[in-house]
């Protein structure tokens, strides 16, 4: 898994609540068996018109947000479908950090597994960052996971909270499966005990 240490670049504002994963990456990108090129489909219906031409108004079609590295979003971001295509498409576009008042649970886990940092801040704080992001002259931000800070264009810093385990996994790019496979004996012992008690679960 990719590590997350620091990230800096333009932050793009997306002032909508309840943006669902169908909006992040719609169904036509789900039937491929590859993750490549999903960045093109990120926020597809917001970004392109019916003829597949860019809509000039949408934030990611404007400078400097074409190179956005951070997204500032409304509450309950990425609710809905479990599609991991959502973090894959953000990552492929170049956005590896999303800041919002709240995220849906499945998306939250999916991001950690893909080295994306989600930052939860109070709504008032998110609104402040949203206003800065909205100004192309002030939208540069720098995230430092180790220090748990977001440095703004004027040099001010905002601190954020993160659970120690998620921080550790992200900083070190740890692969959960490798770690769990080392617990094979404990899993085996659990299975032996369960099989004795509930044998019908073993077919």
């Amino acid at each position: 898994m990719k590590k997350f240490t620091t990230l800096s670049g333009p932050a793009a504002p997306l002032p909508m609540i309840n943006v669902d994963t169908d909006q992040i990456i719609p169904k036509q990108y789900l039937s491929a068996i590859t993750r490549a090129g999903l960045g093109k489909g990120l926020f597809h219906d917001f970004r392109y018109d019916m003829e597949d031409k860019e809509k000039p108004d949408f934030v990611l079609n404007r400078e400097p947000y074409r190179n956005a590295k951070i997204l500032i979003a409304g509450d309950n971001f990425a609710c809905g479908s479990s599609r991991e295509h959502a973090p894959w498409s953000l990552d492929d576009f170049g956005i590896r950090c999303v800041i919002a008042p709240g995220f849906a649970d499945i998306f939250f886990n999916n991001c950690t597994k893909n080295g994306l940092l989600l930052i939860v801040l109070e709504e008032a704080k998110v609104n402040e960052l949203m206003a800065l992001a909205d100004n192309p002259q002030a939208c540069e931000m720098a995230v430092d996971l180790e220090a748990q800070t977001i440095t703004l264009a004027d040099g001010a810093t905002v601190t954020f909270e993160i659970e120690a385990s998620r921080k550790h996994r992200l900083l070190n790019g740890l692969d959960d499966i490798e770690i769990t496979l080392q617990k094979g004996a404990e899993i085996g012992a659990f299975e032996a005990k369960q099989k004795a008690a509930l044998p019908w679960l073993y077919r």
């Binding site: 789900l30 491929a32 993750r35 019916m50 999916n110 120690a164 385990s165 094979g184 899993i187």
Partner: protein
């Protein structure tokens, strides 16, 4: 600490393999359902890393999302869909994972076939790379949706690393009025708690109105739990549950059945167990529900009106309502019953079960679709389809002008070619009214099967209870 435990506590605690230092738990997974859209990355990575599936006997795969609902048996025309479907078949063969083939009568939507096959049982942990895995909680098991990386984690280790969610209780007491269904109940619950109301929690549904629901109705309620932000919904198993499970192909048999019953009866929440959050609703006050916006929380009773953004509590809400009304092409304060529809879709893992087919046929009987409306019925599985045909429901629906299709996800997600055209408005029994969910610029109103059929017959939303006989 209280020793009184909730149903969730009991299932969780009996599945912890190890507690990690960081507060997460390694949780054992008893049953893993899977389909073509979210499983390929896991299999691909396992092939690259030369890892086997730890317990193929605890996995069940079925193709459902991308497959056509007509001309079954012919080559799937869409190249990507065909390759994804064939990849699932090959992966299951290579890794020894049991698969229900496309042409098998048991094929259907993954959340319909799990219960049908008896793979879904009280007290177990069940996952699937699909958010509507919440459906299975209707059996009193802990069932939740996971992403593709987690699918691979379960295939490789039969476990997941999880942070323990909190307990939330939603009580619905009293009798649902005649003609009001589990679908209306869950839409009303989401309307009350909001789409983030259950985030970080597992919701246990309790109360006399929940107890009175059939297994089909309970599955509809648990299915849409994810639309309320909670990954899992739970309904304690009771005699209704046991009667449904008994005799299913994967259910415990003979002596095991009695042992299983004893175990299952020990699982319901202890009286007085504490919850972190509680909500209660009065069943008698629930009317048939219709969504008007682009989030499942945007819901109103059939005799209600589209909201007015000017009356919103704050700017954020005001903008959200205005954006939804623009997308849905509705006006503030418009009566719900004045909204005209072009299409109706009856199906999905929310409402594609036999009871739903019966409810649809009952309303359709002796009536015909309104001029200009087209409608399709897509049974949730081959077994549902066969049962409906044995009861003659297909004939009633076809006579009324409905299309009768082969099972699959179909227009719930519109990946298989069944989709709305831009601007079309649909009464749908599925679970998501997100923008573009049923086709780009399509407009979805979520309703119960009876309400969808009533709207298709009248050409606009109507209280099914007042449909002229």
């Amino acid at each position: 600490m209280s020793t009184r435990k909730t149903l969730f506590d009991k299932i969780w605690e009996s599945h912890v393999v190890a507690e990690n230092d960081d507060g997460t738990s390694l949780l054992y997974i008893d049953m893993h359902l899977t389909h073509e859209v979210t499983s390929w990355p896991g299999f691909e990575s396992m092939r690259n890393n030369d890892r086997p599936v730890r317990r193929p006997d605890a996995v069940l795969a079925v193709p459902d999302h991308v497959i056509p609902t007509t001309n079954r048996g012919e080559r799937i025309e869409d190249d990507q869909a065909r390759v994804q479907f064939e990849t699932l078949v090959k992966n299951c063969a290579d890794f020894n994972v049991p698969l229900i083939p496309l042409m098998d009568e048991r094929q259907g939507i993954v959340h319909i076939i799990g219960p049908e096959q008896g793979a879904t049982q009280p007290g177990i942990t069940l996952v699937c790379g699909d958010s509507h895995t919440a459906t299975h909680g209707a059996f009193g098991c802990l069932a939740f949706g996971i992403g593709s990386s987690e699918v691979e984690h379960v295939l490789s280790t039969q476990t997941l690393v999880q942070k323990r969610p909190k307990n939330m209780r939603v009580s619905v007491d009293g009798d649902l009025p005649l003609g009001v269904t589990g679908k209306d109940m869950i839409l009303a619950i989401i309307g009350a708690i909001g789409t983030a109301g259950g985030t970080g929690h597992v919701i246990e549904y309790v109360g006399s109105a929940i107890r009175a629901l059939s297994m089909e109705g309970r599955m509809t309620v648990c299915n849409m739990t994810i639309e309320g932000g909670a990954r899992a919904g739970l309904i304690a198993a009771d005699e209704t549950t046991f009667a449904y499970v008994k005799g299913r192909p994967m259910a415990p048999k003979d002596g095991d059945w009695d042992a299983a019953l004893d175990y299952w009866r020990s699982l319901p929440s202890d009286p007085g167990a504490a919850y972190d959050k509680e909500v209660s609703l009065d069943a008698e006050a629930i009317a048939p529900q219709v969504t008007w916006g682009t989030s499942p929380e945007d819901v109103a009773p059939i005799d209600g009106r589209v909201p007015d953004p000017a009356a919103a509590a704050d700017d954020k809400q005001k903008n959200a309502i205005q954006q939804a009304l623009d997308y849905m092409d509705l006006k503030a304060n418009q009566p719900i019953a004045d909204i005209k529809i072009d299409r109706a879709f009856i199906g999905s893992c929310t409402n594609g079960r036999i009871e739903d087919m019966r409810a649809a046929a009952e309303v359709a009987k002796g009536r015909t679709l309104a001029a200009g409306v087209s409608a399709m019925v897509v049974p949730g599985s081959g077994l549902v389809k066969a049962q409906a045909e044995a009861e003659g429901l297909d004939k009633i629906l076809v006579a009324a002008g409905f299309e009768w299709r082969d099972p699959g996800c179909s227009m719930c997600i519109a990946m298989n070619g069944d989709m709305l055209q831009p601007g079309e408005r649909c009464a749908s029994t599925s679970n998501r009214n997100f923008r573009g969910r049923q086709g780009r610029d399509g407009r979805t109103h979520l309703v119960s099967p009876a309400m969808a059929v009533a709207a298709a017959i009248e050409g606009h939303f109507v209280d099914v209870r007042e449909l002229a006989s």
